[in-house]
């Protein structure tokens, strides 16, 4: 069983934690990743900074600017991944970002480099199923999961296209909007997760706007995973190089709430 599949056991909702690579600097990111693991994150989403993060809200936009301002290069991100894999043999690591930095040297180059760095999967915001050919085949050839996104606007007619060739898990973006701002109504999440589960055996992780332990717990009752990003990125933004202990503390609070919620279910 690969690392990603093991991260979503039937009896426990996974906590998927996002941070932007190189924020506040490439040298600090390893400590922040360790802090996520120490707090109980099951899957690490490592954001690849981009100058034009069109789907992101203010928190992650600011993180991208901090990271690029610190000089973070693609090579740094791959080094961060390689070193993470050396320290954490079993924790799944997913790269998340936009198409252009992934395609710059060719999809094949990126897929091979990511696989060699110990990355398990890739989420690309602006490569929808219609453009799968730009990135999907290269990732699959390299043995990486290409994690697909479903959203509130993904209707029944379109869902099969989204799920076709999806692997790893399905990331349900619970609000039509950008990262970190609104939170979705829980009933709409329940309904959407039900719809997705009827259509696929892949684990369903729910994210966008998840910020409090209570929200995480509510999602954990119905979904296989909870994705938290902007709230963690804001802690990094506030505490900078000293963020690690604060990150651990926050992630631990999410972990506890998620575990509690599943026990009640």
């Amino acid at each position: 069983m690969n690392r990603l599949a093991s991260a979503f056991p039937a009896d426990r909702a996974a906590l998927v934690a996002f941070v932007t690579a190189g924020d506040p600097s490439p040298a600090v990111t390893p400590a922040i990743l360790d802090a996520l693991v120490a707090g109980g994150a099951d899957v690490i989403e490592l954001g690849m900074p981009f100058t034009d993060p069109m789907a992101d809200g203010p928190a992650i936009q600011a993180a991208n600017i901090r990271s690029l301002g610190a000089g973070t290069a693609t090579a740094d991100i791959l080094t961060i991944a390689t070193d993470f894999r050396a320290r954490h043999a079993d924790v799944p690591l997913v790269l998340m970002g936009y198409a252009n930095p992934m395609l710059r040297r060719g999809a094949q180059w990126f897929a091979t480099a990511a696989a060699e760095a110990g990355v398990d999967g890739v989420i690309c915001v602006d490569v929808p199923p219609e453009e799968d050919g730009a990135l999907g085949p290269a990732l699959r050839d390299a043995g990486l999961d290409f994690i697909r996104l479903a959203t509130p606007t993904t209707d029944a007619a379109r869902l099969p296209a989204v799920l076709d060739a999806a692997s790893g898990f399905v990331y349900y973006v619970s609000v039509a909007g950008i990262t970190g701002l609104q939170q979705a109504v829980q009933t709409s999440i329940d309904e959407a997760v039900g719809r997705l589960k009827a259509a696929t055996d892949l684990p369903i992780a729910v994210g966008f706007g998840v910020r409090t332990p209570e929200q995480a717990a509510a999602i954990a009752r119905v979904a296989d995973g909870v994705v938290v990003g902007s709230a963690i990125v804001e802690i990094v933004g506030t505490h900078g190089e000293a963020a690690a202990p604060h990150v651990t503390e926050y992630v631990r609070s999410l972990r506890a709430a998620i575990d509690q919620s599943r026990k009640q279910a």
């Binding site: 069109m54 252009n100 915001v125 602006d126 606007t153 379109r158």
Partner: protein, 420 residues
């Protein structure tokens, strides 16, 4: 009756036509496509369906034609720039120095070609039942054109504009406000056009249920590059018919400035299958191609941004770099995907003109023709000036005068060191 403006009026289809792009998935060769977040994808597919239906609907067509004629003021004149032609012949070899003609889209309502596309898209928005319009703008020309059609049809309008551009383009900001639009400053990134486009996409993704994104150039996710081209192709169709009527022949060379490339594709597209008509797209070389510029084809590389694959200004890691041009309308790090394709297949030649060369051409047109051109077509005219002398006197260059220069007089004054 089919008006000459009709964007469906096509010559008979021919084999191996260059005018049948994009394919059904929105690809122009390797370029274009629909590189958008999943949230937008269903909407983009809806837009495509609705556009196909509109294209086939005579009522939509009739309304578009009527507005272009009576509201925009089309057809725009085709004009022989006699004194400019003579000025460029001065110093040329005997018998050399092509005739220079202008397609005068600067005479349109709102002063540029932008309005052609805005009329088409707002009709489409209303057809789709959308009740709110958003747009991005750099220099403010597309923002003004969008605010104009929104006022005309009574739809609320939000225009995203980089905070830096707002400072540089105060008159256009005030125009948009007079027209009832809300201008939202964008402070992210470099606070210019590409950041305004990012913010437009963020708004759209959060308001997909009621909002139509009125994109200003022939770029973005499919079907935008196609539909903007179709709406702008009125320029080339008119010019082709006018040139045949006036001279009995087609021009030898078409020249147009390129930021995103909508005025250029609008002029070029109806001529693409006329093998004897050469075409020259003119990018902004800014301070020079070895320094800061906005020439995506001449100084960029293929990549993915704002929903399409095309040539981009970017670094080795795929981070987008800032464009620079004295013309805010050319100051964009990408280019429409159809131009990327036309470049690769060699059908259109793309060159670049510096700020200084454009300023010289600006002044030349002012003095020889009594026309104050915008800085965008001043780039085209600068390229014309270089080419005309290398062509025979019986040859014809047709340049797109895509905008008037009233908006640019402060920029030009500053560049020339004149206190106003």
């Amino acid at each position: 009756m089919n008006a000459p403006n009709s964007f469906r009026t096509q010559p008979p289809e021919q084999a191996n036509s260059l005018r049948q792009q994009p394919d059904e998935r929105g690809h122009f060769g390797a370029y274009g496509g629909r590189y958008v977040a999943e949230t937008l994808m269903p909407l983009v597919l809806d837009l495509e369906r609705e556009y196909r239906a509109a294209k086939a609907d005579p009522a939509f067509q009739a309304q578009f034609d009527d507005l272009l004629e009576h509201y925009v003021g089309r057809p725009s004149p085709l004009y022989f720039a006699e004194r400019l032609t003579e000025a460029l012949r001065d110093g040329a070899e005997p018998g050399m120095g092509a005739e220079v003609w202008f397609k005068r889209d600067e005479l349109n309502h709102t002063g540029a070609h932008k309005i052609n596309n805005c009329v088409g898209q707002i009709l489409l928005a209303m057809r789709m039942g959308k009740t709110r319009i958003i747009a991005e703008t750099g220099a403010g020309q597309h923002g003004v054109a969008t605010a104009t059609v929104c006022a005309r049809f009574g739809l609320p309008c939000v225009v995203y504009m980089g905070a830096r551009d707002i400072e540089r383009q105060q008159p256009n900001v005030f125009r948009m406000k007079l027209l009832g639009a809300e201008v939202r400053p964008v402070t992210s990134g470099a606070a210019t056009l590409k950041d305004a486009m990012n913010e437009g996409l963020r708004d759209w993704v959060a308001n997909v249920h009621d909002t139509f994104y009125l994109i200003g150039t022939a770029a973005g996710p499919h079907p935008y590059p196609e539909l903007v081209r179709d709406f702008q192709s009125v320029i080339g169709r008119e010019a082709r018919a006018q040139m045949l009527a006036r001279t009995g022949r087609l021009p030898d060379l078409l020249v147009a400035a390129i930021g995103g490339g909508s005025n250029a594709i609008g002029l070029f597209h109806p001529f693409l299958d006329d093998a004897d008509v050469a075409m020259l797209g003119v990018e902004a070389a800014g301070h020079g191609l070895d320094r800061e510029h906005a020439a995506s084809l001449n100084g960029g590389a293929p990549g993915v941004l704002h929903g399409n694959k095309t040539y981009l200004l970017q670094d080795d890691d795929g981070q987008i770099t800032e464009g620079h041009s004295i013309s805010a309308g050319l100051d964009y790090p990408g280019i429409g995907p159809e131009h990327a394709w036309l470049n690769d297949i060699g059908r259109v030649e793309y060159t670049a003109i510096t700020d200084t060369e454009a300023l010289d051409a600006f002044q030349l047109v002012c003095r020889t023709e009594g026309i104050i051109p915008a800085l965008e077509p001043s780039h085209a005219i600068a390229a014309v000036a270089k080419r005309a002398r290398t062509m025979r006197a019986d040859q014809i260059i047709l340049a797109n005068m895509c905008g008037r220069g009233d908006k640019d007089i402060f920029t030009v004054a500053t560049a020339l060191g004149v206190e106003m």
